[in-house]
């Protein structure tokens, strides 16, 4: 813990007081420096489980292999609870929700990892063997899985989130820090609040070195600025990162002629995060490292492919933030500049993760940095984004969408795909679509006129790219047609 801990405590109690006032209660008095306030004593969980958990946390942190020592990860279902309370179903489902979470968390954790459950439900997790980044990704993956299991695609719950966050614990007084964290969590639940007090107040958690830094999904961008310092010391990619390729069908040429490279990160013995699932949960500072790792991998594989006399294009994403930040861009471009001419002629670079309000001129500028190093440039957007004229002016060859997370009916998706391709074609752009999950959506994408498509009906992921090969319309129905 830093020297400013007492100041941090004051800030913490200031927030508790503010919350109490907001709720119409009496502000809690600032506690003496070494004293737990009476209000919290009443609300603290029973001593034995806490002491036991603190003992186990201390043991993990004392282990040299515990790369994430000092950080405790939280999965917070208070918004799920609130949604179910609003529906009058919480009392009936509370135990079941908690059991599902327990089951999923246990499946994800390694034997040395530890966790503690509060009746929020809020789960505190300490990863014994993972780096900070890997632990963060794993925590986000757990929250995502729980959200999928409990919420799924039900439009009623589209705004409900399972939050993943991280806080710091001192090595000196873990029990006290845990007391504060748990007391705060319990207070949130007791007062019927729907999320972490401090996150709702948009202020750092003063009592700890690392406050509630990141809320999964929509909270990511806001938290990233707070978070940068935390990951500054660990800019390397997770060591167990590997890569896969997705085949992309050039419809006009009836050929699988491009392979899209994606990172894959094992998070347990049997499960892995892939592509966007990693990018969406990685801290901002890690995105550049992931992009560079992808570029190096693609360059190696493309070199090997060409050396073997095989021809195919390889595509890889680069994040807007990587090119937008000067220092990161320089590092990325330095790797690009080292690519030989043969590799550049077969390389397709896809700009991804554009902010909704990114000015066209800025996009064009960023694309100009990588244009010399690639055969083609594309931009991935959403079905509702439409800066097609800008992209056309920036010499982008194609625009595309990843449809896996679009929570729309197939008929609505088909309608929007038609609109998307029509508008893009009018701007002189080719179009592509990823993550087509069914045959009917695949044929709808064909009917809409997408030039390049990828999805379950096109082909499975492969460990390494191969030479281009023919793929006919009949192959969409392999094994079904006479």
């Amino acid at each position: 813990m830093r020297d400013g801990r007492d100041d941090g405590k004051s800030a913490f109690w200031g927030q508790v007081g503010a919350l109490a006032r907001k709720l119409g209660g009496t502000a809690a008095p600032a506690p003496p420096a070494a004293q737990v306030p009476p209000a919290l004593e009443r609300r603290s969980p029973p001593a034995d489980p806490l002491v036991d958990f603190a003992r186990r946390v201390r043991a993990v942190f004392g282990d040299r292999a515990a790369a994430s020592a000092g950080a405790i990860y939280m999965v917070n279902l208070s918004k799920v609870r609130q949604a179910l309370i609003a529906e009058g179903r919480w009392d009936r489902l509370a135990d079941r929700v908690q059991n599902i979470c327990l089951q999923m968390i246990r499946q994800r954790l390694e034997p040395a990892d530890i966790f503690h459950c509060l009746p929020g439900p809020i789960f505190f997790i300490v990863f014994a063997r993972l780096s900070l980044d890997a632990a963060k990704l794993k925590c986000a993956a757990i929250s995502e899985e729980i959200a999928q299991r409990l919420i799924g695609c039900d439009p009623k719950f589209k705004d409900v989130r399972v939050a993943a966050s991280v806080a710091g614990l001192s090595k000196g007084d873990i029990t006290r820090d845990l007391t504060y964290l748990m007391a705060e969590a319990e207070q949130v639940m007791a007062e019927g609040q729907t999320g972490p007090v401090v996150a709702e107040e948009a202020a750092p958690h003063g009592a700890f070195d690392n406050p509630w830094l990141v809320e999964n999904r929509e909270g990511k961008a806001k938290a990233a600025a707070v978070n940068d310092w935390y990951y500054e010391a660990v800019p390397e990619c997770p060591p167990d990162l590997s890569f896969i390729y997705l085949p992309l069908w050039h419809v006009k040429h009836r050929a699988i002629a491009t392979f899209l490279c994606l990172p894959i990160l094992p998070v347990s013995a049997s499960q892995s995060l892939v592509g966007d699932a990693i990018f969406a949960t990685a801290p901002a500072a890690l995105l550049c490292e992931l992009d560079i790792a992808l570029l190096k991998k693609v360059a190696d594989d493309l070199g090997a492919l060409l050396a073997a006399g095989k021809h195919a294009a390889l595509s890889l994403p680069v994040h807007f933030e990587t090119l937008a930040q000067s220092a990161q861009r320089k590092r990325y471009i330095a790797v690009c500049a080292a690519l030989n001419e043969g590799v550049r002629r077969h390389l397709a670079i896809e700009l991804v993760d554009l902010p909704e309000d990114a000015p066209g001129g800025r996009i064009a500028e960023l694309l100009s940095y990588v244009r010399p190093f690639a055969r083609s440039l594309s931009v991935r957007i959403t079905l509702s984004q439409g800066q097609f004229e800008t992209f056309g002016a920036a010499n982008v060859s194609s625009v595309g969408v990843a449809l896996g997370r679009e929570n729309l009916s197939e008929s609505e998706l088909a309608r929007r795909m038609n609109h998307f391709t029509k508008a893009a074609n009018q701007a002189g752009l080719h179009t592509y679509a990823f993550e087509l999950r069914t045959r009917s959506i695949t044929t709808a994408a064909l009917g809409a006129g997408f030039d390049y498509i990828s999805g379950q009906m096109i082909g499975s992921i492969v460990d390494a790219p191969n030479a281009a090969y023919h793929f006919e319309f009949a192959d969409l129905y392999a094994g079904l047609l006479a």
Partner: protein
């Protein structure tokens, strides 16, 4: 009564086909996608299915394969086109899926009726 199931995600086209076929004396039922088409087959046992190919929630090729597997006697006329990209490429697969005939959109009323009569004959009034 001779029953025709019209399957298309465009309601406008279903309305037109209904008018043409009912005018000739056929009983017409409708479905807006492949899954609805299979439900309708289960319920109504139509004599003929006129099915579009590019549709949400089970496309025409998949629907035809499933229909022919479960009700081999049902006649199927596959239709597609109408300005959709690659519609003809997909329609060309329909015979391999089990379709008894195909027709490109847009088509004349007389052309449609000729295909229908060839497949199931003049309507039998019940």
């Amino acid at each position: 009564m001779t029953t025709v199931l019209v399957v298309d995600d465009e309601k406008g086209l279903r309305d037109v086909l209904r008018k043409v076929l009912e005018g000739k004396g056929y009983r017409v039922i409708e479905a807006g996608d492949g899954n609805q088409a299979l439900d309708a087959c289960r319920r109504e046992h139509p004599d003929l299915v006129i099915s579009d190919i590019i549709m949400p929630d089970r496309d025409g090729i998949e629907a035809i394969i499933a229909m022919k597997a479960e009700w081999p006697a049902i006649k199927v006329l596959a239709i597609s086109g109408g300005g959709r990209a690659h519609a003809m490429d997909l329609l060309a697969l329909a015979p391999r899926a089990g379709a008894d005939d195909t027709l490109d959109k847009p088509f004349r009323q007389s052309e449609l009726l000729l295909r229908v009569v060839n497949l199931i004959g003049e309507p039998i009034l019940g």
